[in-house]
């Protein structure tokens, strides 16, 4: 298994630290963003599809752990920011937090470690095949 270049992650996190940490700290966890996400609405309102949940548990955790994460963590994060989000940019935050920008940044960090998402469902694969078909 490939190791994670934590220095690279730390450097990337540092690059946008002020803006991202400010945005994360402005989130009052009000969950108003939930209904603006079509995936949340179409997946029986499963909180895992809620925009704030996706941000807090991806980029939020990366900042909390200061980039000291392992490959398993990034692979789990991949599901959240690729499978649970299509970056349609329709999420609404009452405070104006740029949620898509934060998820896109989390994706960049994953990509820097060779982890990226694919969308097998767009190629016609059944849902239960998603995780099997995903390549790192």
């Amino acid at each position: 298994m490939k190791t994670v270049d934590t220095k690279k992650i730390k450097d990337m996190l540092k690059m946008k630290k002020a803006r991202m940490k400010l945005s994360l700290s402005a989130c009052a966890s009000c969950s108003i963003c939930a209904e603006s996400c079509f995936l949340f609405m179409s997946k029986d309102k499963d909180p895992q599809y809620m925009p704030s949940y996706k941000v807090v548990n991806s980029l939020g955790k990366l900042y909390k752990k200061r980039g000291k994460v392992d490959r398993l963590f990034l692979e789990k994060m991949r599901d959240l920011i690729w499978k649970n989000c299509v970056l349609c940019e329709r999420c609404y935050c009452p405070f104006g937090i740029d949620i898509p920008g934060m998820i896109a940044f989390a994706r960049s960090i994953c990509r820097s470690q060779g982890i990226s998402g694919v969308y097998p469902h767009t190629l016609g694969a059944p849902e239960e095949e998603y995780s099997k078909n995903e390549t790192g």
């Binding site: 690059m15 400010l22 700290s25 209904e35 603006s36 909180p47 609404y92 009452p94 405070f95 104006g96």
Partner: protein, 225 residues
């Protein structure tokens, strides 16, 4: 203790609050830059297209955009949140007792609301706070992102109002309740710039100054990175 709470601690809280708000505002200015002038804005494009649509279609568009607002999507949450924030600002600023303290200290007063009005607003505020608490405890989507920190912040925000109500009605030992009330108020004021309560600064800056789909107006600034 009363003198300490009303003197140095009060100053400390207000200095932290003012300094913090200035720091946050400067930080937001540094993280953004003036937006490039755009020749086509969503408003100007809408104006160009307006002749193409019938009044029925325009009405439908208005209805759809209303349904996408906070009031259209969450009317109860929008109402309670608005009332909560209105009371949060109005009660402490326009309370007669606070103005009396202001007059004793600096010799000037602001407009005061009748005590009975503030009493009712405080009770309404506390009901709103209970609504947020229950919402955090029972609604799955809110539960999923709630941490002990969120409950603590709700407590920090509601404590000055709860203790203020007790102090006004002189329930329990007045002097003790009053000191707790002052300290609770100071903790809340000092917490604003450096906690999630910082959304006070963030909201006005981002929704008004930064141009985006959901901003009020066109916005004059944009994020740098």
């Amino acid at each position: 203790m009363y003198d300490l709470a009303r003197g140095p601690l009060m100053w400390a809280a207000f200095i932290i609050f003012t300094g913090g708000v200035i720091y946050r505002s400067v930080q937001l200015f540094m993280l953004t830059r003036k937006k490039d002038r755009s020749f086509y804005t969503s408003q100007s494009l809408k104006k160009q297209d307006s002749g193409k649509y019938s009044s029925e279609e325009k009405k439908l568009e208005l209805l759809v955009s209303f349904q996408n607002t906070l009031i259209g999507k969450h009317p109860v949450m929008a109402l309670i949140s608005t009332v909560f924030h209105f009371c949060l600002f109005v009660v402490p600023v326009f309370l007669f007792a606070h103005n009396l303290v202001l007059f004793e200290s600096w010799g000037f007063v602001l407009v005061s609301l009748p005590d009975s009005v503030c009493d009712i607003l405080t009770i309404i505020f506390l009901f709103c706070a209970v609504f947020f608490l229950v919402r955090r405890l029972v609604v799955p989507k809110v539960q999923a992102v709630s941490t002990p920190y969120d409950f603590l912040l709700l407590l920090i925000t509601a404590a000055p109002f709860l203790t203020g109500l007790f102090a006004y009605h002189q329930w329990f030992d007045y002097n003790t309740v009053l000191i707790i009330h002052i300290l609770a108020g100071e903790v809340m004021v000092a917490a604003i710039p450096f906690t999630k309560l910082g959304h006070m600064v963030f909201f006005f800056f981002v929704r008004i100054l930064i141009g985006s789909e959901y901003s009020f107006g066109r916005g004059s600034r944009t994020w740098i990175t």
